[in-house]
């Protein structure tokens, strides 16, 4: 501690009234010390109210270095009230409110040095330089926001469309599922009938065989071998012939089912909403994981003619045109991929001649009709035909259902007010730090990969802080510690980029993801306003410097 010569105590107060020069800033009069310009009027009257309404104080008590209002109203310019705030003008830089605990504490806080007016320390005015640096930084930030905003708008538009498209697809798939289920049910019915008939026939044949065996025995005994089994084989032959002709008739339908199936699958392989960036294909993962939920739609009513009608209504009005617009906007880099996607999508949409469901429906109807004419004994080829048709349709149904559940799973997420995070769904972001690679897949999970071992940092939980933070939780448990978790802070940037992964507390990770999605109009305006204010407080001569 420095040992000062003792000043007469009573002088200490009046000292505050003397104007003190510290650095380049000149001290405002006591009654203006630490007061923001917009507050100056508040302090004009002779009797002033504490802002918290607790009491009143006189003008003499303003900045008299004694705390009268516990909220600090009467001591904006001193350290007397712990709850008070001191205003630094910081001409040339941004004005600032600092805690009263910083006033005359021997440490320069305001760049204009106004917080150290007692002269415990000499604080040079650094506002001009600091202001300039801040200006530059601000300009850069504004530029980033401006660029980012353009990208953001585009992305949001894309995301909206992709979302709408997926929603539409989902509803379409759902109605298709109903139709298909109806068909499958019918086929099953037939299949079961056939199986029943086959069983009966088998029993009958067994019976016959027994009889024949018995007869043969008796014939042998009678040494009579004249009778041949031709009658029966003729019957079988007839059936075979008939089947062949039926097969010929149905070839087209059959082919189209196979082809459709292929197309349908390729449609799954390339979801239409794949977009820019380092896309990590998790597709197989979610297909696989979705198999478990196949049974969710089993209970759908099977009145398929009505459903079909509704479905046609919907699709003709919405989905077709929407999708096309979306497809056109995709970056050229990915045009090839998208083409395939749109091709399959075209086939899946009823905007062309007729949908694949219609075709299947047709085919199956034909088979069933054909079969209906057919009476027992069971025709083998027709029976196997029905069974195959059933199996095909049934497996198509489960694929359809898995597609529905994955799409439904996706769509139930919160993608932001404008669905702006929609494109994040199928994307992952990576960042390499030393030996670790961090992988963040929004809406899914985050992991840390070291060589061949992967540690789960968390599963998707939610957005936090009004879409400024992505929260992943319940990751792998730490030894003797908590479950791992990750907080990804989002900030404006022209590119999607994961950076600064850190573990400030054991097994609690944080990271920063720059993305245009966070480049917001309001924030840009705020920054521009800040820059404007900064420029205003900077005299023109400094501007020229």
């Amino acid at each position: 501690m420095r040992t000062h010569l003792l000043l007469p105590v009573y002088l200490a107060i009046s000292c505050l009234c003397l104007s003190w020069i510290s650095g380049l800033a000149s001290l405002p009069p006591r009654e203006l010390l630490g007061i923001a310009p917009e507050d100056e009027n508040f302090y004009k009257s002779d009797v002033i109210k504490c802002k918290d309404g607790s009491k009143k104080f006189t003008k003499q008590q303003l900045n008299d270095d004694f705390c009268d209002c516990q909220d600090g109203t009467d001591e904006p310019g001193t350290s007397a009230c712990p709850e008070g705030k001191f205003f630094c003008r910081n001409a040339g830089h941004i004005p600032q409110m600092i805690y009263s605990s910083r006033v005359n504490d021997g440490i320069c806080d305001c760049c204009d040095g106004s917080d150290e007016y007692k002269g415990n320390v000499n604080c040079p005015n650094t506002c001009w330089e600091a202001g300039k640096a801040v200006c530059e930084k601000l300009k850069k930030k504004i530029a980033t926001h401006q660029d980012g905003l353009i990208i953001r708008k585009r992305e949001v538009e894309k995301a909206k469309q992709a979302f709408a498209k997926d929603e539409e697809e989902l509803s379409k798939l759902k109605s298709e599922e109903k139709i298909l289920k109806g068909l499958v049910d019918k086929l099953r019915e037939h299949k079961e009938q056939i199986e029943k008939a086959e069983e009966e026939e088998r029993l009958r044949k067994e019976e016959e065989k027994k009889q024949k065996d018995a007869e043969r025995q008796s014939t042998e005994q009678n040494k009579s071998l004249e009778e041949s089994p031709l009658d029966h084989s003729e019957g079988i032959h007839d059936t075979l012939l008939e089947k062949t002709s039926q097969l010929d008739k149905m070839d087209i339908g059959h082919e189209s089912v196979d082809q459709l199936e292929k197309e349908y699958n390729s449609g799954i392989d390339l979801p239409a909403d794949h977009t820019v960036g380092q896309v990590v294909d998790d597709h197989h993962d979610f297909i696989r994981s979705d198999h478990g939920s196949d049974d969710t739609n089993d209970e759908l009513p099977s009145g398929h003619s009505t459903d079909q009608h509704v479905y046609e209504d919907k699709t003709t009005t919405n989905a077709g045109p929407n999708y096309e617009t979306g497809a056109k906007e995709i970056d050229s880099d990915h045009a090839a991929e998208m083409e395939k996607g749109s091709e399959s999508a075209d086939d899946l949409t009823p905007s062309g001649s007729s949908s694949w469901v219609d075709k299947i429906q047709q085919t199956i109807q034909n088979i069933l009709q054909a079969f209906n004419f057919f009476k027992s004994p069971v025709d083998i080829s027709e029976a196997s035909r029905i069974k195959k048709e059933y199996n095909d349709a049934n497996s198509k149904l489960s694929k359809l259902r898995s597609r529905i559940s994955s799409l439904a799973e996706k769509l139930k997420h919160d993608f932001g007010k404008d669905k702006e995070f929609y494109s994040f769904y199928d994307r992952c972001f990576e960042n390499k730090q030393n030996k670790y690679v961090y992988k963040v897949c929004p809406f899914k999970k985050a992991s840390q990969v070291e060589d061949h071992s992967t540690t789960q940092l968390g599963n998707w939980e939610k957005f936090d802080e009004s879409y400024r933070v992505m929260q992943f939780s319940n990751g792998d448990r730490c030894w003797n510690g908590p479950d791992r978790s990750l907080k990804v802070r989002l900030r404006c940037g022209v590119k999607d980029e994961l950076a600064d992964v850190d573990e400030p507390s054991r097994c609690e990770y944080v990271a920063i993801l720059s993305t245009p999605i966070l480049c917001l109009e309001d924030k840009l305006k705020e920054l521009q306003q800040k820059l404007e204010d900064l420029n205003k407080s900077q005299p023109s001569k400094h501007d020229e410097l």
Binding site: Y10, D52, E83, G106, I107, E508
Partner: protein
């Protein structure tokens, strides 16, 4: 610091050890530590009945060199055969050799008893260890030269002890009694009044004898055989006994460990151990050992101290333990056992509680005066990871307007746990980092533990190896044990040369990356040895002069603390007061710095036990102590953390700390509301810094602790004797902890003979009554005693450093006769100039509506002067009838206003007390202020 590390260092073997330890991590493991039954000397001694041993009688009593000397002659009867030590029975000469006894008297009411073997008849070359360096060097100057012995016939010899007290040596059987002087003098303390004195003398080993002891996988070679000592000590006129820290207990007093009404229990164990997740209520030994016990009753207070660093076990015997038919009333009997050493014991006659504390302090010293920053708030965590982390935490405090003074770095800051080095990836510019903190008046502390990594490329290890400075194992090689760095060795701090060498390591030149604002933390100095017996060093390890570790164990950490503290003293050319925090303690550790209660847990029970623990440490001389705020292991719930800050703000040593595996818990991480509550708790401490600093001065001069049990100030109020929930800060401030979740009300006993003002709302409460009070989350109950004046500083800064020039607030709580008194001590907060008189010491006296400030600094304390510009900006008066409007300050005769004001400047604190506005008198001056 705990025992388990997340990322184990290089060696595979450490991994194996790690897994082994991991299996122990769930909680405290009783199996890992020896019980009395597993400790042969303890089992033997504890199994004996009173008066069952052949007694010693006194012979050849004489005055020599101003002290009483005599021989203790064993009775000719055979020693009793015991299961564990049958050899003792077969007529060995050890049982027939007499012992030498010496009684000396020291100024202030202290009797010292020394008993050792007679070297002239010793059968072996081994000499028993007498622990040096603990008693104050000037103790001998205070010895009274006895010139006359009185004999009570042939049966006893008595001599002067202090005015009103005498010492008595009874001859047959041998017994020591301290009693009030005069005929039929009331006894105060007695030793061997139950005939339990036993002294196993060293002897040659017989061919068929095996002295080895085994515990778990460890073998103690015990080359010198049995050498334990035990005896009974009775505290007369006592209701309770206290002290002998360090133990975790919910009880302030020491509960009986044996006798009627006591379930099977262990004795209190004094054996310094690194106990992982220690229990909150157990007599087992933890990190520190101070073999000093006090007793207190309505009529007198007395104390007993056994200077012995070997393992000690102490039974507190329940009334009726010796004779259930005739339970002893108004007396507490105790039974002391030690594995080795000599009898070097001190009896303190009191008669008041503070007398006993002064007497003990005159033997082992008082609390070293801390620097002012060290009394403020400390922020610690295992670990603040790198320079960025440090900068961010530092900035966090500023951003949330929370003051703190010291940022701590745990073991991960060093390069591979090689202390005195830095992990240069994480801390590339340690000097710059410290300078940045120092620019805000803040300090840094780094950890330096005694285990030195056995790495040939590590300069410290190389030097220590070459110079032969390590403790040796039983075979004579450098002892090699496992600790944080893996294979480690331990410098032999018993050796003064090695301590000097160690001290040099803290010079700014040798400790690369250190700056003058860096201070030190000594952890693991029990010493902790992960693969050693009971997680410490084997007892047959060898120190300087062939001293066995068993003889020294409890003082190893003390010597380490001493050497480190001297290192910082040297670094500052004797001008900068050291700050060293130690975990291991022994009697006298108070001279070297602060201590804390080790690795506690984040639960409500550990919050509760922190108070009795710190109080007992304070009674045993350790004024500067605290518990880890928040609890080291585990994650505290928000409300527990807040309650811990509210309580911890009153600990003498106020530091938050957390285990590596816990969530971050800087005070702003739990929502605005909790941040505000923790900020307010920390503010409370900062505003009371002038009061605490004044109390530290008192502790440094007198040995009276900063944080006190109620009975210390209210010795005749029986209700206070076992109150471990409330405590006094100094004599003026009473604090009651809130130790339960969602507690809505608390029953608070306020001591009799005073009124108490609630510091929240100024409401006055009567003493001698339990008050049931509603409890809010804002604060824990605190009261100012009527008749006292507490100096505060109510402006908050980044750290205490910026508060030096801030004005004071005086809070005056008037008693029934409208009077009050208080003190304020100020110095430069850093140097030793106060020893030459460079300080201000004022007494404020309020009487007859007049407040006077008088200088109580004696004029003969030195030529150096200290001054300050600080003024008094506000005087708060509790208990003055309203109506006063003005006060006049003299000299100067200037008037100042009196108005109704709040007790604190916190938002929404109601205006409840008369407040003298801006008297603006200077604290260095004489002045008086009259209420008009």
């Amino acid at each position: 610091m705990g025992r388990l590390n997340r990322r184990s260092p290089d060696a595979l073997i450490f991994l194996i050890l790690f897994v082994f330890l991991a299996s122990l991590t769930s909680a405290w493991k009783r199996d890992e530590f020896r019980s009395c039954r597993q400790t042969p000397f303890c089992k033997r001694a504890r199994g004996r009945a009173p008066n069952s041993l052949p007694s010693f009688s006194v012979a050849d009593v004489s005055l020599s060199d101003g002290a009483v000397s005599a021989r203790l002659v064993p009775a000719p009867a055979l020693r009793q055969v015991t299961d564990d030590d049958p050899s003792a029975a077969d007529g060995d000469d050890a049982s027939s050799r007499s012992l030498l006894l010496r009684l000396s008297v020291y100024r202030g009411g202290i009797l010292r008893l020394e008993i050792d073997e007679d070297p002239s008849s010793a059968p072996t070359t081994k000499r028993r260890f007498r622990l040096p360096d603990v008693l104050l060097p000037d103790l001998d100057d205070r010895r009274l030269w006895l010139s006359r012995l009185s004999s009570d016939g042939a049966s006893a010899t008595s001599f002067y002890l202090a005015d009103g007290f005498e010492g008595v040596l009874r001859h047959d059987p041998f017994q020591i009694v301290v009693r009030r002087a005069g005929s039929g003098g009331e006894p105060v303390l007695s030793l061997n009044s139950h005939g339990l004195f036993d002294f196993e003398q060293l002897r040659a080993k017989k061919d068929d004898e095996n002295w080895e002891e085994n515990f778990r996988s460890h073998t103690d070679s015990r080359p010198h055989g049995p050498q334990s000592i035990s005896f009974d000590v009775s505290f007369h006129g006592a209701d309770f006994v206290y002290g002998i820290p360090e133990h975790a207990s919910t009880s302030l007093s020491l509960r009986p460990t044996r006798g009627p009404g006591v379930d099977e229990s262990e004795p209190y164990r004094l054996f310094n151990l690194d106990v992982f997740e220690y229990l909150h209520d157990s007599p087992f030994g933890i990190y520190g050992s101070i073999p000093f016990m006090l007793s207190h009753g309505t009529r007198l207070t007395s104390g007993f101290f056994w200077l012995n660093a070997a393992e000690m076990q102490i039974d507190v015997l329940a009334p009726g333990w010796d004779d259930p038919a005739a339970p002893n009333a108004g007396r507490v009997d105790t039974f002391w056992m030690s594995e080795a050493g000599v009898v070097d014991a001190f009896f303190f006659v009191g008669p008041g509680p503070k007398d006993v504390l002064r007497q003990y302090a005159s033997v082992t010293g008082t609390q070293a005066m801390p620097q002012e920053f060290a009394v403020a708030y400390h922020q610690c965590r295992w670990n603040y990871r790198d320079e960025e982390d440090v900068a961010a935490v530092d900035a966090g405090f500023d951003e949330h307007d929370i003051p703190y003074d010291v940022l701590w770095l745990d073991i991960e800051h060093a390069d591979g746990k090689r202390y005195f080095t830095w992990d240069r990836v994480l801390f590339p510019n340690p000097e710059e980092m410290q300078k940045k903190l120092a620019a805000k008046g803040r300090h840094m502390v780094t950890i330096v533990d005694p285990h030195i990594k056995r790495d040939d490329s590590f300069y410290l290890h190389k030097e220590a190896t070459e110079k032969g400075y390590y403790v040796k194992d039983a075979s004579g090689k450098d002892f090699d044990g496992w600790c944080w760095p893996g294979s480690s060795s331990y410098p032999d701090m018993l050796n003064p040369e090695i301590r000097e060498w160690w001290a040099e390591k803290f010079s700014l030149k040798e400790y690369v990356g250190s700056t003058p604002s860096l201070y030190i933390w000594n952890d693991m100095n029990e010493p902790s040895v992960f693969n050693g017996p009971e997680v410490t060093m084997p007892r047959d390890a060898i120190h300087m002069g062939g001293v066995e570790h068993r003889e020294l164990h409890n003082a190893y950490g003390y010597y380490f603390h001493m050497a480190t503290s001297n290192g910082l003293l040297k670094r500052g050319n004797g001008k900068d007061r050291p700050f060293v925090l130690s975990r291991a303690i022994f009697a006298g550790s108070q001279r070297y710095g602060a201590i804390w209660t080790g690795d506690n847990s984040a639960d409500w029970d550990h919050l509760r036990v922190s108070v009795p623990m710190i109080l007992n440490l304070g009674l045993a001389g350790m004024s500067f102590s605290g518990a880890d705020v928040g609890g080291f292991f585990g994650n505290p719930e928000n409300d527990l953390l807040v309650r811990w800050y509210q309580l911890g703000a009153y600990y003498p040593f106020f530091r938050a700390h957390a285990h590596h595996d816990t969530k971050r818990r800087e005070p702003w991480l739990f929502g605005e509301q909790n941040t505000a509550l923790m900020r307010e708790a920390i503010h409370t401490r900062y505003s009371l810094l002038p009061y605490y600093y004044t109390l530290f001065r008192e502790a440094a001069v007198t040995g009276i602790p900063v944080m006190r049990p109620l009975w210390l100030e209210f010795p005749s109020d029986k209700e206070t004797y076992d109150n471990g929930e409330a405590f006094l800060v100094g004599s003026s401030l009473l604090v009651h902890g809130i130790y339960e979740k969602d507690q809505k009300s608390a029953s608070i006993y306020l001591p009799a003979g005073a009124s108490w003002y609630n510091l929240r709302n100024g409401v006055k409460f009567d003493g001698g009554v339990s008050h049931k009070l509603a409890v809010s989350e804002d604060s824990i109950p605190s009261f100012q005693r009527a008749g006292t004046i507490i100096p505060r500083k109510d402006r908050f800064r980044r750290s205490s450093t910026q508060m030096v020039n801030d004005p004071y607030t005086l809070v005056i709580a008037l008693n029934g006769s409208l009077a009050a008194e208080g003190e304020l001590y100020i110095d430069d907060g850093k140097s030793y100039d106060f020893e030459q008189g460079a300080y201000i010491h004022r007494r404020f006296i309020f009487a007859d509506r007049k407040l006077t400030s008088i200088d109580i600094r004696p004029s003969n304390v030195g030529d150096k002067k200290f001054s300050t510009d600080c003024t008094v900006e506000r005087i708060i008066l509790l208990g003055l009838p309203s109506g006063a409007k003005k006060a006049v300050v003299e000299p100067g005769n200037h008037e100042t206003n009196i108005e109704l004001g709040p007790l604190t400047l916190r938002r929404a604190s109601p205006p409840v007390a008369l407040t003298i506005r801006k008297p603006n008198v200077c604290v260095v001056d004489d002045w008086c202020l009259r209420i008009l």
